[in-house]
Amino acid sequence: MTTEFRRFRGTPGYLTSDALESAVNCSLALEKPLLVKGEPGTGKTLLAEAISAAFEAPLLTWHVKSSTRAQDGLYVYDTVARLYDSRFGDGDVRDIRRYIKFGPVGEAFRAERRVVLLIDEVDKADLEFPNDLLHELDRMRFRVGETGDEVVARERPIVIITSNNEKDLPDAFLRRCVFHFIDFPDQELMRRIVAVHHPGLDAALLDQCLAVFYEIRGMQRMRKRPSTSELVDWIAVLQRAGVTAVRLDRELPFLGALLKKEQDLAAFADQLSGGRKFRS
């Protein structure tokens, strides 16, 4: 078991921390799915793209929705198409395989080379959803019930699962994953992240933006605190508009890029005018 494997060290466009690298490498070495949680906008989905780029493995994404069932990820047997074909006589309806459509997990198993499989926002789906995938992700194989074919992964895909914490995930599922919680970046890391997105940004403006940004995040009554992606967007807008200096006051330019809720805008104005902390 002392075989060397390639370690993940981040990419030029995606900065990592020691803890994140360690978690990714654990997941690679132990061949277990990596479960990534964290505040929205901390780059959970981008991590999968970065890993895909670092290992030059194609990325297959499965966006989970509230209506998604585990079966959809494996394959879908298109009964309606077959029914219509049988009625109107198009094609050979005896061949069920023609009506089996593989989902992202099925495609990842069938791929010729190692791929990165991103199961995005797994918590969006039904509570039972992760449990239904346990066996398939563990054994890396499943059987197509209609044809009896077994689909076995040729190359074990790198599985990244993200969660926004909308629901608790089942314990059995958690036990099989390597877990990482993406911290909100501190000022130093944030400076580097912004530099990746906006190379050549004026240092003085960046200082001011970061100061304002962390000040707003620290405010007590924020319902939705601005995240990295909002900071990056805000700076982009500032640059477009040719703003060269910002400071924290009521007339903060393009505040709407940072704060997305009416209550937050009100709280912001309140805070700056030294408003009362509690509403009765």
Partner: protein
């Protein structure tokens, strides 16, 4: 040292078991920790912790366990060896897991540890900075000594593991203390239930196939009503007086409930201290509705959440008075019992800490409603109570 650490985690209610132990052993044997305590901290955290709620407990346990530890590498290697042998004896291991343990190169592990120990001693004796400067170490990572940061200057750019653990950056994610809007929303979301009703406009594929087959192959389309949320919630809140310090927490619960889109209906009412014959539709005690009128328009299917500290002068709860001239006098407690009898799915959320729940009016209110502390854990239990079938 490591197995007791796992037990220390278990004592702190972290769900770690054999599977986690085996994973950790495999990771260490693959050298993922890069032979440093700091690396061990990262690896152990990734493998032993499954939820951000537990990160803080992990940090506390780690700091406690590894503080002031002089890393006796030989002993550790012995211990890991013994531990692995012990693990091998466990019956529930699969063949695969057994193989992975047998494949551990123990000598290699020992060599790494010893080398590490030598480096450690020399740094100790020489009085150098304990956080590594890289360069001389064959493993390239500094900060091996667990408590190094507390003695030496914080140089070298890397953080000692115990220091990261000590920082307790994940305190905010503990579920037994904080309550933030998002967490309340998540807790309340479990209150939902679905039912099929309304206009049938969704294609029932299974049903269509069955019907078509029964119909000798002639297409027979079956439709059904879509699934819709079917939870009705009453939120009844105490405002003013002793509740003022909790105004923020209460307003968060309120906005989380308002934003919950997965309920069929949410009605909110207000009262002061205790319910006497009527509740109010606005928080300034306007637009009252009598309790009996409320019971008439709401079915027992409603899930009812009371939110209040249940603290008041005893006479406010127990003294009898007539709500309307001519009606028989009744006490506040009686009104609460009337509500409880009508709504089997009802609970009381209390922002006061449970240690102050006895010897005052809270005790009396608790005898009527199941009471839960207004924290994420308490809210989760409350939701479980509300969704229990009766």
């Amino acid at each position: 040292m490591i197995v007791p650490f796992l037990y220390a985690l278990r004592r702190r209610k972290l769900p770690v078991g054999t599977q986690e132990a085996v994973n950790l052993a495999r990771a260490l044997s693959l050298g993922l920790h890069e032979s440093s305590l700091e690396g061990f901290y990262e690896v152990a955290r990734a493998l032993l912790v499954h939820s951000e709620q537990h990160l803080d407990e992990f940090d506390v346990a780690f700091a406690e366990h590894f503080r002031g530890v002089t890393f006796d590498a030989v002993k550790i290697t012995e211990e890991i060896r013994g531990w692995l042998e012990e693990v091998q004896k466990l019956r529930e291991l699969t063949d695969e897991e057994k193989a992975s343990i047998e494949a551990l190169d123990l000598d290699e592990l020992q060599r790494l540890f010893e080398q590490r120990l030598k480096e450690q001693t020399s740094r100790h004796d020489g009085g150098n900075r304990w956080i590594g400067t890289g360069g001389t170490s064959p493993f390239g990572r500094g900060g091996f000594h667990p408590t190094g940061m507390s003695v030496g200057p914080p140089g070298g750019g890397s953080r000692g593991a115990v220091k990261s653990a000590d920082a307790r950056r994940y305190k905010g994610y503990r579920t037994d203390v904080v309550l933030d809007l998002r967490q309340i929303e998540v807790a309340l979301r479990r209150l939902r239930a679905f039912n099929r009703e309304g206009y049938a406009d969704e294609l029932d594929i299974e049903g269509t196939i069955d019907a078509t087959a029964k119909n000798a192959g002639e297409l027979d389309v079956v439709v059904r009503p879509p699934r819709r949320p079917d939870t009705r919630v009453l939120l009844i809140m105490d405002v003013g007086g002793s509740m003022d310090p909790y105004a923020d927490a209460v307003s968060q619960v309120f906005s989380a409930a308002k934003r919950a889109t997965h309920w069929k209906e949410l009605r909110t009412f207000y009262f002061h201290n205790c319910v006497y014959g009527r509740v109010y539709r606005t928080d300034h005690f306007g637009d009252p509705i009598g309790v009996h009128e409320l019971l008439r328009v709401t079915s027992p299917k409603y899930k009812v959440i009371f939110l209040g500290d249940a603290l008041m002068a005893p006479y406010e709860l127990l003294a009898t008075s007539a709500d309307e001239p001519g009606n028989p006098p009744t006490s506040g407690l009686h009104w609460l019992s009337v509500l409880r009898e009508h709504f089997p799915h009802s609970i009381w959320l209390n922002p006061e800490a449970p240690r102050g729940w006895s010897g005052n009016t809270i005790e009396a209110v608790r005898s009527v409603f199941p009471m839960f502390h207004l924290t994420v854990d308490g809210l989760t239990e409350a939701v479980q109570e509300l969704t229990r079938r009766r």
